[in-house]
């Protein structure tokens, strides 16, 4: 049975709070529960190993930045850029999140049950086996997948209309999968729609099941739904904009 540590974050600045988290992990804690979190930044930053960190409250900016391995579960909303440059592990947010979710993410998974702000998945990237995944249950905002270089970004739009425009602005790698149809006018130049093939679907189904499982949703409607897949039109979307041959 893994050791469980509970930390009260009420009125605690993020520096001593994160020191307590690191100490708990160094002491062999397998589960850390942080109560009364109110905007403390950098929770889970750079942590390694396989601990589970439960955040009760509103997580501050750059949650799980550079994290490599652990699982962070937020019962509440998160501010800007959860999963920033995350390496591996998992972030599960039961509420919504701010702008630049999964900013420059390199690997692992970020699941958000609610909405995300602008520039979700900005500059996600992939390399060999490292392939980050961002799944959003609600809506995403404009500039979704901006400068995306790799990885998988799924938006399910479970709570109404998807608001994102300028989708995939500057995308040159990876893929964006959105439930339902996406109007051509919502795509940025450099992004193109392609049909979701059976192989594509087989690839995303395990992710959808895992997402549904984490949030207690029925997976079957998600598995069977129609999806639009958006990929780069070229590997150098701005070749003609910034360079002249």
């Amino acid at each position: 049975m893994a050791k469980k540590v509970t930390i009260d974050a009420k009125g605690v600045h993020y520096t001593p709070l994160n020191q307590q988290v690191r100490k708990a992990i160094a002491d062999g804690a397998g589960e850390i529960v942080i109560n009364n979190v109110l905007g403390q930044r950098f929770i889970g930053n750079g942590l390694r190993g396989d601990a589970t960190i439960r955040v009760n409250g509103v997580a501050g900016g750059d949650l799980a930045m550079f994290m490599s391995g652990p699982t962070v579960i937020v019962h509440g909303n998160a501010e800007h850029a959860p999963g920033n440059t995350m390496d591996s592990g998992k972030v599960v947010i039961h509420g919504s999140a701010g702008d630049a979710v999964a900013h420059s993410m390199r690997g692992g998974k970020v699941f958000v049950r609610g909405d995300i702000g602008y520039r979700g998945g900005i500059h996600m990237k992939q390399y060999q086996a490292q392939r980050p995944i961002l799944v959003v249950g609600g809506s995403a905002q404009t500039f979704l997948g901006e400068y995306m270089a790799g990885g998988l970004l799924i938006v399910l739009g479970l709570d109404g209309v998807m608001k994102a425009r300028e989708i995939g602005s500057g995308i040159h790698g990876g893929e964006i999968v959105i439930r339902g149809d996406v109007d051509d006018a919502c795509l940025a130049s450099g992004a193109k729609k392609v049909p979701l093939t059976d192989e594509d679907r087989a690839r995303i189904v395990p992710v959808l099941r895992e997402f549904a499982d984490d949030f207690g949703l029925d997976a079957e409607p998600l598995v069977k739904a129609n999806y639009t897949r958006i990929v780069p039109a070229s590997a150098r979307p701005f070749a003609g904009k910034y360079t002249w041959e």
């Binding site: 702000g117 602008y118 905002q141």
Partner: protein, 353 residues
């Protein structure tokens, strides 16, 4: 970066400044400890028919004499006093905050539709542009700005210096500065105010030069070299002088992109094109979130590309606009509605008449 916070009570129920201080302080990470400020509406009920002039005086003798003489030329000083302060160990005081309760003589601005405000506007421009060691930092009825700059000016230090908890207002704006460009003078951080309107901003207006030339062509003088001064004057020009509804004024300052206009129904296209043509030089570019207020409303809006955060909370009669959700929760733990409006969707809260 900067952190901004605004709260309005729709039924004019008063809030003392301690909650606003706590809300701003929880976003300390957004600032650099080199400037912070607060503005509140409803704080001077005993002098609500006077224009409250908050002035930072380099020298309570010489620079004050210049202000006294200018005010006496344009109206009557009903009351004046030093703004009560409490020295803070980390905050270096470089000036004396003073307040006047002033009644302008409306007969001195014949032909104006708002003579008192024209006099106040000219007074503020004149005093601030001159090298006289005096800067007017707020000038409206029943409103006051409290701000400080320089090292050690964290939100709680500035609030405690001005004893902000002793003031009660129904609209409060607050700003925590991440110093970038301008010098660390006490008059430089937000909020900015010109009689009715106050502004706090998190951003960097890249069109500052064009906007400043535009506003100065209407007789405003910008002497603080900072965005928020220009924004305050632009709102005054568009709303008071040109009679634009606040919705249209915001649309002129942060208009939709041309391709968005192309997709609108025809009548709306026409309106938006006309606004962009008429107010091209007032259009602000660059990253920003702005919260502005006057005695009847509080509004928030962002740049078109949404390069700065804006979170909106509602709870009973209170409307909150902030850079981070936690600032709202710090003041109102039971807030239920939290939204993040899209760029181009201004948030407008009005006080009940």
């Amino acid at each position: 970066m900067c952190g901004i916070f605004g709260v309005m009570d729709k039924r004019r129920q008063m809030m003392d400044g301690s909650g606003i201080r706590d809300a701003l302080s929880i976003m300390n990470e957004r600032g650099s400890g080199e400037g912070a400020g607060y503005v509140a509406y409803g704080i001077y009920p005993d002098y609500q028919n006077c224009y409250a002039l908050h002035v930072l005086l380099d020298n309570p003798g010489k620079s004050k004499a210049v202000v006294d003489a200018t005010l006496e030329q344009w109206g009557a000083i009903e009351h004046e006093e030093a703004i009560p302060t409490c020295d803070q160990p980390n905050l270096r005081t470089t000036c004396t905050p003073w307040r006047y309760f002033f009644k302008p003589d409306a007969t001195l601005a014949p032909g104006s539709t708002s003579p008192e405000k024209d006099i106040i506007t000219n007074l503020v421009m004149q005093i601030n542009a001159a090298q006289n060691g005096a800067e007017v930092i707020s000038s409206g009825k029943n409103v006051g700005v409290f701000k400080a700059g320089g090292s050690g000016a964290w939100p709680e230090d500035v609030a405690n210096y001005y004893r902000i908890q002793d003031y009660e207002g129904y609209i409060w704006l607050a700003h925590n500065r991440y110093a970038t460009a301008s010098p660390e003078k006490w008059e430089r951080p937000d909020p900015f105010n010109l009689h009715d309107w106050s502004v706090v901003e998190n951003g960097k207006i890249t069109t500052y030069g064009a906007n400043r030339r535009y506003i100065e062509s209407f007789g405003y003088t910008c002497s603080m070299s900072t965005d928020s001064e220009v924004i305050t004057y632009l709102i005054d020009l568009l709303v008071r002088k040109h009679g634009l509804d606040i919705n249209l004024a915001i649309r002129a300052l942060a208009p939709p992109y041309w391709d968005e206009i192309d997709r609108m129904p025809e009548a709306e296209q026409k309106l938006n094109r006309a606004l962009r043509f008429a107010y091209g030089s007032a259009t602000m570019n660059g990253p920003f979130t702005i919260v502005a207020a006057n005695p009847d409303m509080m509004v928030g809006f962002t740049d078109r590309g949404k390069l700065r955060p804006m979170v909106v909370g509602e709870c009973d009669d209170r409307l909150y606009i902030a850079s981070e959700e936690v600032a709202i929760r710090a003041m109102e733990p039971k807030v239920e509605s939290i939204t993040r409006p899209a760029a181009g969707e201004p948030v407008i809260g009005r006080v009940a008449p």
